[in-house]
């Protein structure tokens, strides 16, 4: 029984806010490279870059790309062989601010892998992390700088994040979890589990 947490308009508003926050923390759009983590992170990164371009029309070019982390994962020997996605880093990332973009932040292991991958491409001055949903349960000392929605969840629950370009529809929903678990929006379900 999936419960919708964010609809398409909510997602658009969250991304607009994240874009403003990125611009605020970077003091403009200069020296900014936005890298999405495949698959859905790339879509989000592209939207954030477009939004930034719209907010700051004077910004010459907001560089956007993708960073696949498959080859850097720490669980490669424990699962079926994963098929990597494409990495496209637009130009040099030395001395710039890189904003990594992912859809859901969970254990933090994907971001750990992304930081390793990033280091093999160059040396950014600053690396920030933007995620659409932070569902908690970190296993590593990693946190996001820009969060669309904090969605405290139990590990038994499933977060579904669909985006138009990838899935044909768009929403964030949550299902599964403890029996009888009808939680009002935003209530910490961890306490119930």
């Amino acid at each position: 029984m999936a419960r919708t947490v964010l609809n398409q308009a909510d997602i658009a508003r969250a991304l607009t806010r994240i874009s403003h926050e990125i611009l605020e923390s970077n003091r403009g759009a200069e020296n900014l490279v936005i890298l999405g983590i495949p698959t859905r992170g790339v879509v989000l990164a592209r939207r954030i870059a477009e939004t930034i371009q719209r907010i700051e029309p004077t910004a010459t070019n907001v560089r956007v790309g993708s960073l696949d982390v498959t080859m850097y994962r720490d669980d490669l020997g424990h699962t079926r062989t994963r098929t990597p996605s494409r990495t496209l880093v637009p130009g040099s990332i030395d001395g710039v601010t890189v904003v990594l973009v992912d859809d859901v932040l969970y254990s933090g292991r994907t971001i750990r892998a992304a930081l390793d991958a990033l280091g093999d491409h160059g040396r950014p001055t600053i690396v920030r992390l933007a995620v659409l949903v932070d569902r908690g349960h970190r296993e590593l000392p990693i946190r996001a700088d820009f969060v669309g929605k904090n969605l405290p969840s139990s590990t038994a629950e499933r977060i579904n994040l669909h985006l138009l370009e990838v899935d044909g529809d768009e929403f964030v929903s949550i299902d599964g979890g403890p029996p009888g678990g009808e939680h009002p929006d935003g209530v910490d379900t961890e306490a119930a589990s």
Binding site: M71, L76, G77, T81, T83, T87, H121
Partner: protein
Amino acid sequence: MRHLLSTKGLSQGEAIRLLDIAEDMADVADREVKKLPTLRGKTVVNLFFEDSTRTRISFEAAAKRLSADVINFSAKGSSVSKGESLKDTAQTLAAMGADGVVIRHPASGAPHVLAESGWIDAGIINAGDGTHEHPTQALLDAFTIRRRLHRGAARGKGLDGVTVTIVGDILHSRVARSNLWLLTTLGAHVTLIAPPTLLPMDMSGWPAESGFDLDAAIDAGPDVVMMLRIQQERMNAAFFPNSREYSRRWGLDDERFGRLAPTTIVMHPGPMNRGLEISSAAADSAGSTVREQVANGVSVRMAALYLLLSGDREDS
């Protein structure tokens, strides 16, 4: 994928997946750090019972770019020359903890024996066995053709409708066999051209046309011409009168090369006998992919090693 023994059993989906991963691997060569940590802690053994410096260093470079440890084992001057059996060699490697074994062997089927005997639990890659198969060579050839035809948009694509003419010693060539199966699976049409003495007697099970006349094949305007190496030992075995006659009738000389469309891709697995099966003008032309094939070989072998060694071996 547990082993890579032949291209015959490879499905179109598996082949395209491997080629797509090879595209990602090729991108690594353009980065600041040209190395991935993916196979850290894994050991790859290059087990070569035949000399092949090119193939061995290609596999070695591939394994090292994926951070695997590489052990080179060549039969010359080893325990094999003292009479050790394949079984004992395999069990020795197993005891040393090899995760992957790249094997080249003069006997057709040796990699299959290694994979199915239970002597060793490693992933086996066939790097050429007798006159049977050489799958990574075919994969790098297919990768090279696909890249030439589609440039940056090659991912996910097959080779539908591409016409490939393979010329040379088809009878003994494992490269020709592996290419035949793989290119056909990917949707290409293969034509095999050779002297009558160097074509197999019965080709009824092969999904290819065959002929003796290179000039007719050239005038048909193929998209790809792949010249095979004529092995020195064949020249003395009466398959054809002498090398000059072979060159005149089945070599890609300047005149034949001039008749090809400028877009034709000219391939050779190397090492080339310049002036015998291919002229220098053809080998060094813009249509020639000889050097690309070498570079792509590393990317394709990285993809194969990744697919064999990265996942949980129980699951695959």
